[in-house]
């Protein structure tokens, strides 16, 4: 035992004295849930342009890992220089630890820099700020447009055309199911995927109404939102979504089955194009996105138009107070959102840019380029997909799951969302 204790003492003193080496170089620390391989490319490009700065990136899965690490680091004042953020609730949660970016951005990019951002992004980055606070705490890197992707080769094989109405959609789902293909894969165990589909439905029924409801400017019991809730339930009962959707996850299961041609349709976003840039082996469908195209949620019963584009900021970055004391941190942030770092992300087709005047370079097929242009044309018209207060998003997630499973009526479910909204806005 004596020997053991001695050993333990040696071990302890040696480990306690261990500290990570600090190089002479300037260093920037970054945390995010952004795809690691793409981020490494961005960092490589940045470091090439700024040889005196070294970027240390730590990747986390979004939930539970990233939000846990962020919260713990924020509580203990050990946040890195730059953190990945979503506009609205996530940014607001860390607002006290974030620097306002208006100043440095205007200095580097000129006074009109905000005009180069897509309108929906401009709106989202201020979401949840206290009244009168025009400070920008999150700089968007990429935008997204939520759509329904479909497998063109399977559609062709089964003789299905792109659905124009809800009836077409249900018929397409039936044909797919009969052909042994999962009709529309919904990872309904993930709150975010459910929110996305509901936003497509609700914005078709009444564009922008969810946005008003979350601000308390319109009731959640509005007939259009109620109808959208019923439409949502119908997607399950009419067999558009696969059986057992409520127990399924979009990643990795759904995405994997979709990319391998086992699924007909899936509600995802413009980021789906990045699959074609993932390391091989890639399926014949994913290769140059040859097997994929997208459409918007077709006209629901009683509606005469498809859903409008819904989307906004995919991911943005914030400069922490720690990062504010490190001049290199802003240099990297600027490159990542609007410089050579962004270019690398776009080249990987990670998603759409947040600022105008960028486009992917390198190995991009005409089909991908055409889809990219369609997205970019739709983006300025996009409706907001984000929530300012996490409790409201949480209540909506819960309501959507309850309605989907039939354990709650749409009216009661929306009332619960209303209660949560009232409570959140009051405090």
């Amino acid at each position: 035992m004596k020997r053991t204790i001695a050993l333990a003492t040696i071990l302890l003193t040696s480990v306690a004295g261990f500290a990570p080496l600090k190089a002479d170089q300037k260093e920037v620390t970054v945390w995010s849930w952004f795809v690691q391989s793409t981020m490494q490319n961005s960092i490589k490009a940045f470091e090439k342009a700024h040889p005196d700065i070294k970027v240390k990136y730590t990747y986390y899965n979004y939930s539970p890992e990233y939000i846990t690490a962020l919260k713990a680091a924020s509580a203990s004042d050990s946040l890195p220089d730059v953190i990945g953020l979503q506009p609205g609730s996530l940014t607001q949660q860390y607002r006290p630890q974030l620097e306002a970016l208006n100043g440095p951005a205007a200095k580097d990019w000129g006074d009109g820099w905000q005009d180069k951002m897509f309108p929906v992004n401009r709106k989202q980055i201020l979401m949840g700020n206290p009244p009168g606070d025009q400070n920008i705490y999150i700089l968007p890197q990429e935008s997204q447009d939520l759509v329904i992707w479909y497998n063109t080769k399977i559609f062709e094989k089964l003789g299905i055309t792109v659905p124009k109405t809800y009836g077409d959609l249900v018929a397409a789902a039936k044909t797919l199911t009969k052909g042994g293909i999962i009709p529309m894969f919904q990872g309904a165990a993930d709150g975010w995927q459910n929110e996305n589909v509901y936003l497509m439905l609700a914005n078709q029924r009444a564009a922008g109404l969810v946005d008003k409801a979350q601000k308390g400017e319109a009731p959640w019991s509005s007939p259009e939102l109620l109808q959208a809730m019923k439409d949502w339930r119908a997607l399950f009962t009419d067999g558009v979504f696969q059986q057992g959707a409520l127990g399924a996850h979009a990643y990795p299961t759904g995405a994997q089955l979709f990319s391998q041609g086992r699924v007909g349709m899936m509600a995802l976003g413009s980021w789906w194009m990045q699959e074609s840039k993932f390391p091989p082996p890639r399926s014949q469908y994913v290769q140059n996105m040859d097997g994929f195209d997208f459409f918007y949620m077709p006209a629901l019963n009683g509606s005469d138009h498809a859903s409008p584009p819904v989307g906004g900021v995919d991911i943005g970055y914030g400069l922490t107070k720690n990062g504010g004391r490190n001049p290199s941190a802003w240099t990297f942030l600027a490159s990542l959102t609007n410089g050579e770092g962004l270019q690398e992300a776009l080249n990987d087709l990670n998603d759409l840019p947040a600022f105008v005047g960028h486009e992917p370079k390198g190995d991009v097929s005409p089909h991908v380029k055409a889809m990219y242009d369609r997205f970019m044309a739709d983006l300025p018209k996009a409706e907001n997909q984000r929530f300012a207060i996490p409790a409201i998003a949480d209540a909506l997630d819960s309501a959507l799951a309850a309605v989907a499973s039939g354990s709650q009526q749409p009216e009661d479910a929306l009332k619960a969302v209303q209660d949560a909204t009232d409570k959140a806005l009051k405090s």
Binding site: A8, L11, F18, P20, W31, N61, A73, S76, P279
Partner: protein, 278 residues
Amino acid sequence: MTTRIAGLEPANLTVHLGLGLVLLLWMVPEAYMVSIAMRAPETVFDPTLFTWPLTFDNFVTVIKDNPLPSFFLNSLIVTVATVILVLAVSSLFAFAVAVLRLPGTTVLYAVLLTTLMVPMASLVLPLAILLKTFGWVNRYVGLIFPYVALGAPFAVVILKAFMEDAPKELFEAARVDGCTPWQTFIHVTLPLVRPALVFVAIWQFIVTWNEFFLALIVMTENEMKTVTIVPMQYSGLYMANPGALFAILTIIALPLIGLYVLVQRAFVRGLLAGAVKG
């Protein structure tokens, strides 16, 4: 004498077959893990337990791509140090309570058991603040010390019960022979509870090796990460290739399983000797 098959009597053969059948069912998830790790991307989520052909590509990919040895080294350092410290502090504590006697042990016992039940999610934030204050974020001690604190109560409970069950005469004899408490501890008590120490060591090893919540917030630099947080680190990288993800999971699971197979005799012996008394 009835006919024997494979040296077993018919009744026993039935039991073996029954156990085997239950085991087969029990092993489905384990087999499935290995099976997915050996699949190509297009068959990863096929609804069958086994697919053909098998491929080792995923293993090659993840071993080539990742500095796995350094993650294993971090895990090993943290785990071994934790196990040693837990054994040291908990046996000392248990000795003081069980052999030297102290008033109010029931209260102490209740407090220890209660803290065993606190969910980790409750402790993460205050621990993060504490570790930052000490400058122990991204240091091995930052993980080892909390692990010791959280692991010691269980070890104390086991060792204390064991020491209390040991024959009192031995301790008396030691005192009569003029042993100090320290000598009694080293020469009499520790050899006596060796099987329980082995049990505690193995259990603590398993628990520490698999912990990921605290590791996640303490080890934020890639060089310091332990092996259990690696799958989450790389699930983004292998988003399009779950087979590779499962290959990593298998690689991580195997050493622990191998270790358990190696030490299971000692582990069960610890149990048999009464680490948890029947």
